[in-house]
Symmetry: C2
Subunit: 527 residues, 2 copies
Amino acid sequence: MSEFPVLVNGTWRPALELRGSFHALDPATGEEIPGDYPISGAADAEEAVRAGRKAALDMMSLSPDVVAAFLEDYAALIEGRAPRLAAMAVRETGLALEPRLLSVEIPRTVFQLRQAAACARERSWRRAVIDTKADIRSILGPLGGAVAVFGPNNFPFAYNAAAGTDFASALAAGNPVIAKAHPLHPGTTRLLAETAWDALLRSGLPRSAVQLLYHVGPDDGFRLVSHPLIGASSFTGGRPGGLALKAAADRAGKPIYVETSSVNPVVLLPGALRASSGEIAAELFASCTLGAGQFCTQPGVIVLLDDAAGGSFFEDLKARFLASGPGQLLGKTVRDGMESAIEAMSAAGAEIVAGGRRIEGSGFRFENTLLRVPASRFLKTPEPLQQEAFGAVSLGILAATEAEILAVAEELEGNLTGSVYSAPDGSDDALYARLAPILRTKVGRLLNDKVPTGVTVTAAMVHGGPFPATGHPGFTSVGYPAAMTRFAALHGYDRVRPERLPAELRDKNPTGAMWRMIDGGWTRGDA
Amino acid sequence: MSEFPVLVNGTWRPALELRGSFHALDPATGEEIPGDYPISGAADAEEAVRAGRKAALDMMSLSPDVVAAFLEDYAALIEGRAPRLAAMAVRETGLALEPRLLSVEIPRTVFQLRQAAACARERSWRRAVIDTKADIRSILGPLGGAVAVFGPNNFPFAYNAAAGTDFASALAAGNPVIAKAHPLHPGTTRLLAETAWDALLRSGLPRSAVQLLYHVGPDDGFRLVSHPLIGASSFTGGRPGGLALKAAADRAGKPIYVETSSVNPVVLLPGALRASSGEIAAELFASCTLGAGQFCTQPGVIVLLDDAAGGSFFEDLKARFLASGPGQLLGKTVRDGMESAIEAMSAAGAEIVAGGRRIEGSGFRFENTLLRVPASRFLKTPEPLQQEAFGAVSLGILAATEAEILAVAEELEGNLTGSVYSAPDGSDDALYARLAPILRTKVGRLLNDKVPTGVTVTAAMVHGGPFPATGHPGFTSVGYPAAMTRFAALHGYDRVRPERLPAELRDKNPTGAMWRMIDGGWTRGDA
């Protein structure tokens, strides 16, 4: 067997019940990258879940400092191996070494690991609540099973199943992780998991705190997320796969956090375009095409008034699209997805005004594409016209009246972000006041005068939103400690003897600094 | 038309597309209580959801003081009308006027309304996070649509769809409510909704902030919870109905919080029984049969070692069951459910040692029932043996060894509560240390030396737990502010102009007392 081993139950070993193998392609050339990776069968998933359950129980008695130290050690090891890791990712994903991978994404990834570690150490994220009179106490705690993390194609580090935000969040919240690599970058994931393993072996964590599968078939994926002994799952990626996993987990009553699609509407109010049409066109174009448009927050829908300023803005934007060269895509599936989404939008009445065609030849590329549709047409069939075409594809929705802008907003599905540009002189304020409440209920992050790409990792970040952007509007996958709370259960303790309580719920504050709500007031003191 | 009107879109009016009507029965006699209540068709649900969406948008610009004042006014009105409300509930549910309804449940209900109101006023529950450097801010906010609340049969006030904990939580979090009455007590729900309406008319809330349907068919229920314009739903009741609603909401990506069944295992460790067998038998028997066992936290499963102390304890418990008279049930469905659950448990190998039969004659009653099964038998088919028999039915699982006790715990499904009795002298501590981590992952509230019935309303309460007890292990339906967070979306603001931010996210603290996390630290100060 030439396949790389999987990491299951504390051992790197060949995949069991192999369902096949695969290899990565160099998206710049379409050529195979040497190295066979296994598609695991049901036995691997079963063993991983059972080992994860055991590790979860073992981790419940560990101090959060142990997992924090592991995450910090892992972050340092990633930094030390960054050139080798980035080189593999460049080859597998076609993303640029600089400025993207080496100086942006890897630093973000290690920052995330350290932030999650810091929150785990600090402990306030667990929201300890103590009622001394009733002797009833509650706290967020681990789920009691591993978290299965399905990583996406577009962030080989920051969202990697074996290193990214869900990995960091799940572990920092005290849960083992079963990483399911994205099949477009198995080598990067392997190098990361090997690095995690090096850190794991010298940590006090159980050996099954991190496990790795490269790929599973759909049925085995469903088994994984719905297994009685799994803690929870997370998935970032395309809508059909995400919704199928969600359905399986939902039926079993297992928590799953999916992020599956978003068109990130940008609404350009008329005064804003009268005031600074050129600047907005430049930054919007840059946002639409950044990284070949392969961001969850790429502006896929642009809503504006079809007046003189709007018309000339749209011509400017169109000219920028026409003058631009295609970016490098992550793979064939991205290219084909763009093509079929554009076809569907065209069939629903959108007109292609720039781009629209795949680039023939080796490698996977597609023209930067701008479409337009009258708002009246959009309002007739909003569904096909707001599907995500993952890549540099944006649809301008041109409204005849301000009322149509509001009607379009009311028809939007849930999105990660929604941006509104408005005039600095207040001339758009009345319209903004009518638009914002509608948009507020449709998006996770509301922006003013700003494009949605660029997700700052801060405690205040919301990278989430109503369905179908994500599966639950109350959570975020970026920003700590909030992202960690996805992977926590609410644990109540009713007259449990003091020595049996988690340290965080005993009368004495375990760190002298953790925030707790005691008898109705937040305090860092003792109970 | 003789039917009572529904409250939809700010008007009491006859139900549309009537699918039939129903009336309550007096469970003590089985006789009809005069008063026809309508089963609404799809048009009522549709109009209610649309009116709820509009009310939700209107409520977004109101101060939380408005909804708090409404909840407080409503609580005071309920107190004023308590005798009439309680009399109706006695007739419809057969629950005792005293000590239950008038001096326990109605006071709990108004306390809940006031607690939720206080949290809404205080605002810290919204978890405002401000990053001044990046100018990124986040806060929990309303869902943008009404919350559909499906109330259960067993708490005509404290869980009533038009007055109970979900009603209070959803409104205090800024959302309108569509109450769906439980068909066993439509009159109580009508009187409550009329009372809410009186308070609503003199509040500043939109007239559709509270709506009422008495009953809907299954398909209309599915439409309601999966409607694109609904905010979320909650359901407390039987498992089949709850899971069907959950499936419909999950498919549509709409949040739903279900609480559907729990057997609330009580594990009696050997030293505890050696030390205080009689006291434990007395309090456990009382908990099993309290209110005819019709509590979500009734101890349906009792696990103990089959040694001398265990055997004599179980004989004592059995004698208490045998000597007891049957309680009054809420209705025919409860009686029939007990009968079929006992049949299924018997078929799976459990032996009836006390009770087991329905009481013939008028009204709905059933013998208090105790069953037993060897742990070895339970471990063969744990599923049918841990189904909830809502009512005074408990199953003793007798283990041959301590290892069997642990194995039984590992096979338990998710539950609201799990109790462990252990010896005061430390002789059970080693076994407790092995049992507790397993049980911890299976229950919402872990108790020591205490029966699970009696749910104190405190901020530290956890009335939740892993599936199938509830649909998500991270939440509670009792205790404020935690219960309110179920009905909230996480709202991010990225460089939104200061005057457009919610008051709670502006630099100045809106109350001077609300807790916010600003630049990494919790503070009541300004940013």
